[in-house]
């Protein structure tokens, strides 16, 4: 008998607190107005896609299959996929490598590098490709396209990765090391998983821009779906062949969106409470300092300095030859700024309901609504532009050839930029704070205004700037939708450079760069102020 009593003593005497997180029960009722707004905006974005498919199917199935299954289509598909497959890894490598050097090592002058590494955002890809081809006609074809686009687009990866690396908590790294991981192991098993959403999001953005790129590829004479569609539309306005190619492009875009979901992972990175994060310790570069500096200098040199120098050289020639006309230049600058500010505001506002829904009331529907916003941005601007023209002519005649329609096109095109910015910003406003506010007597809308907004405003500003930059340099939709008689910097630049008039193009290129440059500084402050 004593033996059995002993067993019982041991059985019940101690309780160990399990450390696993307990699932939190939430009341998951989505406010109807948020859901309604998100659905309406998703519908606005989807409408052009539906128009594209509608026109594509109007050709009839026999004609459609004849147009689709021909060697030309296979060649375009191969070209497009090859461009994406080569460029995206390069941008990830450049973006992550640069971000790591700047944020996590003893590299001298990280502040300056943060600025310099973002400056490619101020130079439109088609301007730098104009610069390179005007000097080196051998920069051509696939090689030239990868070279120019990778240098132009790596900031899309650098920006979110650098921001997250700054927010990295040394505590996590120390914990990994104390659990027996080497420095490299901690990097692979702690840093990399935390970076996954940023890298995947950035890579997706690069891939989608490549699908929609027109200016660079036209100059490099590297045909992809987008350049082919433009040629089709130029030949015969709004014909079925172009729409069919556009439909294939939409399918490609959907494929990328689906692939990104598992790559992104489920990291939740908000951090709160006592002992809030500790700045990570920098890696000592030592003898590697000089090679690292040289590598970054080469990157910035090729991406920014050389193209900018060439533009300046053409500009100097334009000024000395008296080819610069102040009147048209000022008019184009004014309309570019006006349209870009409106587009920035519209897209930032429009992205909010979807991002908010996904953050606060995650559901399959919310995820679909968010994904949907990426679809339109993958389409070439000219497709969105033509679809909106078709819609406006049929149902909203008065807005045709007004700034409103152009701003709508920009919003549809650049919504993902604002969306990405909102989503990273909303991570700074975790549910705990929202609930704290509610239990202090503040309503849902009041909580949004007084807690969420102040915390995410920096990110919202980032989104605005990204859309502004994109709009200043948007070419194809602007060519179609700009209000009658209005020239923007991009369209004026394009009509001159299309005629290989490098001198006449230079002032507009310089103005676009000058307009975008201060905004790059603003973006830099965003990463700097993170955490």
């Amino acid at each position: 008998m004593p033996a059995s009593s002993d067993l019982r003593v041991d059985a019940v005497i101690r309780y160990d607190e399990p450390t696993a997180a307990v699932p939190v029960v939430r009341s998951t009722r989505t406010p109807w107005y948020v859901m309604l707004a998100a659905i309406l905006l998703a519908a606005l974005v989807v409408a052009p896609v539906l128009v594209v498919f509608g026109q594509a199917t109007s050709a009839g199935s026999a004609e459609a299959s004849r147009l689709l299954f021909r060697p030309r289509t296979a060649e375009l598909l191969r070209n497009t996929l090859l461009l994406v497959a080569l460029t995206v890894p390069v941008t990830v490598l450049l973006g992550c490598g640069a971000a790591w050097l700047v944020e996590r090592t003893t590299l001298p002058g990280p502040g300056i590098w943060r600025t310099l590494l973002l400056t490619p955002l101020a130079i439109p890809a088609f301007v730098s490709s104009y610069a390179w081809t005007s000097m080196l006609p051998s920069v051509q074809g696939l090689g030239g396209a990868v070279f120019v686009t990778a240098l132009a687009y790596y900031p899309f990866v650098f920006l979110p990765v650098a921001a997250l690396l700054r927010a990295l908590d040394q505590g996590h790294l120390d914990a990994a090391r104390s659990l027996g991981l080497t420095g490299l192991g901690a990097m692979l098993r702690v840093v990399v998983p935390l970076q996954r959403p940023a890298v995947a999001g950035g890579a997706l953005l690069v891939a989608l821009h490549l699908l929609a790129e027109f200016g660079v590829l036209q100059m490099m004479q590297y045909p992809t779906f987008t350049t082919a569609i433009l040629q089709q539309f130029a030949v015969g306005f709004s014909n079925a062949a172009g729409s069919l190619l556009a439909a294939v492009l939409v399918v490609l875009c959907l494929g990328f969106l689906v692939v990104e979901v598992p790559l992104r992972g489920h990291a939740r990175i908000a951090r709160l409470g006592p002992g809030s994060g500790q700045r990570p310790v920098a890696h000592r570069l030592g003898a590697w300092t000089v090679p690292a500096l040289a590598a970054l200098a080469a990157l910035v040199g090729l991406a920014v300095m050389v193209p900018a120098a060439i533009v300046v050289r053409w500009l100097a020639r334009a000024i000395s030859s008296g080819a610069v006309e102040a009147g048209p230049l000022l008019a184009a600058t004014g309309s570019s700024i006006g349209l870009s500010v409106l587009a920035g505001l519209a897209a930032t506002l429009a992205a909010l309901p979807g991002a908010w829904l996904l953050h606060r009331y995650p559901s399959r529907l919310a995820a679909v609504l968010e994904r949907v916003t990426y679809v339109a941005s993958a389409l070439p601007g000219v497709v969105i532009g033509l679809a909106l023209v078709t819609l406006a002519v049929q149902w909203a005649r008065p807005v045709y050839q007004t700034a409103a329609l152009a701003v709508t096109a920009y919003t549809v095109l650049f919504l993902p930029r604002a969306m990405v910015a909102w989503r990273s910003g909303l991570a700074a406003a975790p549910t705990e704070l929202i609930e704290a506010s509610r239990s202090l007597g503040v309503s849902g809308l009041g909580t949004f205004a007084r807690v969420v907004l102040p915390l995410v405003l920096p990110s919202a500003l980032t989104g605005f700037v990204l859309v502004f930059l994109a709009t200043v340099t948007e070419l194809t939709a602007t060519l179609l939708l700009a209000p009658t008689g209005t020239e923007t910097l991009a369209t004026a630049f394009w009509s001159a450079s299309d005629e290989l008039d490098y001198v006449a193009s230079a002032p507009y290129a310089a103005a676009m760069i000058a307009l975008s440059a201060p905004l790059t500084l603003l973006l830099r402050r965003q990463i700097l102020d993170q955490r």
């Binding site: 002993d6 399990p18 029960v25 409470g273 239990s439 007084r450 102040p454």
Partner: protein, 351 residues
């Protein structure tokens, strides 16, 4: 007749699978302090979140001062409940300083006047000089007190505390707990504290609700749940416990520790519950035990013992300076009455 305080009746919260809370009923009188004590995953935080209005229960109702907050179709929004909620991490707003945080829930006019910040900081035992600090410039204990001041600023009738002291170190914990209790008592707020720390629950609350697997196992005063637990599980959860097989005969029981007096009469096979501090060492008339180990803890020491001829391993908590040495032979006695439970198979309780 409407009753003051909190009345929770038949509250069931469930989402896919077994319910998190299963028909929980609990009453807290106005101005009272109740501690909800249970292991992690027992549902205690869900109970608090249901009170605060963040959870829609499957059934049951919650009333505060006679007003239905949750029940049937009614689910009063969190901001309309007048219930303060202080989380484990404090959840201070990082974009606001201490003043901004404390005044957050007040109407705009009062926020502008800001006259309440100083008194509230003093109420929770903080210096008014902290008013302009930002949350990341405060220690964990200070953050916790600011969070309490923020909740108290609206003079809520009910304050919910979700393990508010668990992230603090021992010294800070006692001081913060003391300051919190004082502030809550001064305001006369009805308080519900959720914790898995037995000592914290016993010292903080005037009533304790022990919750296991979503069900209330016992409600009573701290002395009741500690000295007269409803089940062996409750007894063991509240502190170190020996459960020994015994044969009861009315007011006494026979077990390996000899013949002990029972607090309540019983008969037949029973489990005898003996707390280590009930065991007195050095009584030559009792059974003699062999000291296996001594864990010295300052004020007292935990002595582990073997009884010859049995495999029994026993524990005794004795004043630190009277602790024996390992290897000593000591006589055991349990002079005070002990509790017993009907003998039944005991399953280990997993957290």
């Amino acid at each position: 007749m409407t009753s003051r305080g909190i009345v929770i009746s038949d509250l069931t919260v469930g989402y896919d699978g077994p319910p998190v809370l299963d028909q929980v009923s609990l009453q807290v009188s106005s101005g009272g302090t109740v501690a909800v004590l249970g292991p992690s995953g027992s549902g205690k935080t869900t109970l608090l979140r249901a009170l605060a209005g963040f959870v829609r229960p499957a059934q049951g109702r919650i009333e505060v001062d006679g007003k239905v907050l949750t029940g049937g179709p009614v689910l009063v929004a969190p901001e309309r409940r007048g219930i303060g909620y202080v989380r484990q991490d404090g959840a201070l707003f990082p974009h606001l300083d201490v003043t901004g945080n404390i005044l957050f829930g007040l109407p705009r006019a009062e926020r502008r006047r800001a006259t309440q910040v100083g008194p509230l900081l003093e109420l929770v035992g903080l210096s008014p000089s902290l008013a302009r600090r930002r949350p990341d410039q405060l220690s964990g204990g200070q953050q916790q007190r600011v969070a309490l001041a923020r909740a108290l600023a609206r003079e809520p009738a009910v304050v919910l505390l979700d393990e508010p002291f668990s992230s603090l170190d021992t010294a800070l914990r006692a001081a913060t707990r003391e300051a919190t209790l004082t502030a809550l008592t001064q305001r006369g707020a009805t308080t519900v504290l959720v914790t898995h720390d037995q000592a914290e629950a016993l010292s903080f609350a005037d009533r304790i609700a022990v919750i296991f697997d979503g069900r209330i196992a016992q409600i009573g005063s701290p002395a009741e749940v500690y000295d007269a637990p409803a089940t062996p599980e409750v007894g063991s959860f509240l502190g170190d416990t020996m459960l020994l097989a015994g044969q009861a005969a009315g007011g006494i029981v026979d077990c390996v520790l000899g013949t002990l007096e029972l607090a309540e009469p019983a008969t037949g096979k029973v489990l005898v519950m003996v707390r280590p501090e009930q065991v007195v060492l050095g009584d030559p008339s009792g059974p003699t035990a062999h000291v296996v180990s001594v864990a010295y803890q300052g004020p007292d020491a935990m002595v582990r013992l073997n009884l010859p001829n049995t495999a029994a391993r026993l524990m005794a908590r004795v004043p630190g300076r009277r602790a024996p040495q390992p290897g000593d032979e000591v006589g055991l006695a349990v002079p005070d009455p002990v509790r017993s439970f009907p003998d039944s198979p005991i399953l280990p309780i997993s957290g």
